[in-house]
């Protein structure tokens, strides 16, 4: 589903992408209804960091990571309505990604609003976990300290 690039590769040609690689959020992201179509760009040397690049706006890309790598116990309870929207039956496991941002030296990820993707159809939704102890700024690493 993802497009792999080499480090320092030139920007990918968004017009040359196959439709099969496009992840679609029918309703956009929370508070960003126009953020609908992305392609997932991964590389082998990214430390688990990947990029969701907008297909419609080449200036828009989101850093994302796999939250389960970070917190093995991380789970997202999907409602039956969400499963229907995503075309997931009760057996199918979705792909989970969480957005990454940087605040000063702290790199954080948003565990409250995971991106849930059907790996087969690439239909996606940002789910908001209303009643959890997670945070929108879960610390991932620090820049500069070397740790």
């Amino acid at each position: 589903m993802s497009v792999t690039v080499e480090a320092n590769a030139p920007p990918i040609d968004l017009t040359a992408l196959s439709p099969e690689s496009i992840i679609t959020f029918p309703h956009g992201l929370v508070g960003q209804p126009e953020w609908k179509r992305f392609v997932l760009i991964t590389s082998d040397e990214d430390g688990g960091l990947a990029v969701l690049q907008s297909v419609d706006n080449d200036q828009l890309s989101l850093m994302v990571t796999d939250p389960v790598q970070l917190l093995p116990e991380y789970v997202v309870e999907l409602s039956s309505a969400d499963r229907t929207l995503l075309g997931l039956d009760s057996e199918q496991q979705p792909l989970l990604l969480t957005t990454v941002s940087i605040h000063g030296e702290q790199i954080t990820t948003n565990l409250i609003g995971p991106l849930v993707i059907n790996p087969r159809t690439r239909a996606a939704k940002q789910v908001v976990l209303a009643d959890t102890l997670y945070t929108t700024r879960y610390p991932v690493a620090s820049v500069g300290s070397g740790k």
């Binding site: 480090a7 992201l29 929370v30 508070g31 960003q32 953020w35 040397e45 990214d46 430390g47 688990g48 960091l49 990029v51 200036q59 828009l60 890309s61 989101l62 850093m63 994302v64 990571t65 409602s79 039956s80 309505a81 229907t84 929207l85 957005t99 990454v100 941002s101 940087i102 605040h103 790199i107 948003n110 409250i112 609003g113 940002q126 908001v128 209303a130 929108t136 700024r137 991932v140 690493a141 620090s142 820049v143 500069g144 070397g146 740790k147």
Partner: protein, 86 residues
């Protein structure tokens, strides 16, 4: 903004599928009962704003992607006990 006055135990309809009932009022706190289809996402506004802000932060234009990837790699290596070169 439409402003309506309701008493405790009175209800509002939002379209055909959503009902909001005033369950109780204590001081400056109002307890609401919301009946809506499962497909309707009901969120406290503060939480909505937090997630919206996190999305905007993650989408902010930046050139420091490689720095961030390196920091995460270093962290992972130190977690697994591997040696990192300073």
């Amino acid at each position: 903004v439409l402003v309506l006055t309701r008493k405790t135990e009175q209800t509002l309809h939002l379209g055909d599928d959503i009902r909001v009932t005033i369950l109780g009022i204590e001081g400056d706190r109002v307890k609401l009962g919301i009946e809506a289809p499962r497909s309707v996402c009901v969120l406290r506004h503060e939480l909505y704003l937090q997630v919206q802000a996190a999305n905007a932060d993650a989408g902010a234009p930046r050139t420091d992607m490689q720095t961030i990837a390196a920091a995460i790699r270093d962290r992972q290596q130190s977690d697994t006990g591997a040696t990192t070169l300073a």
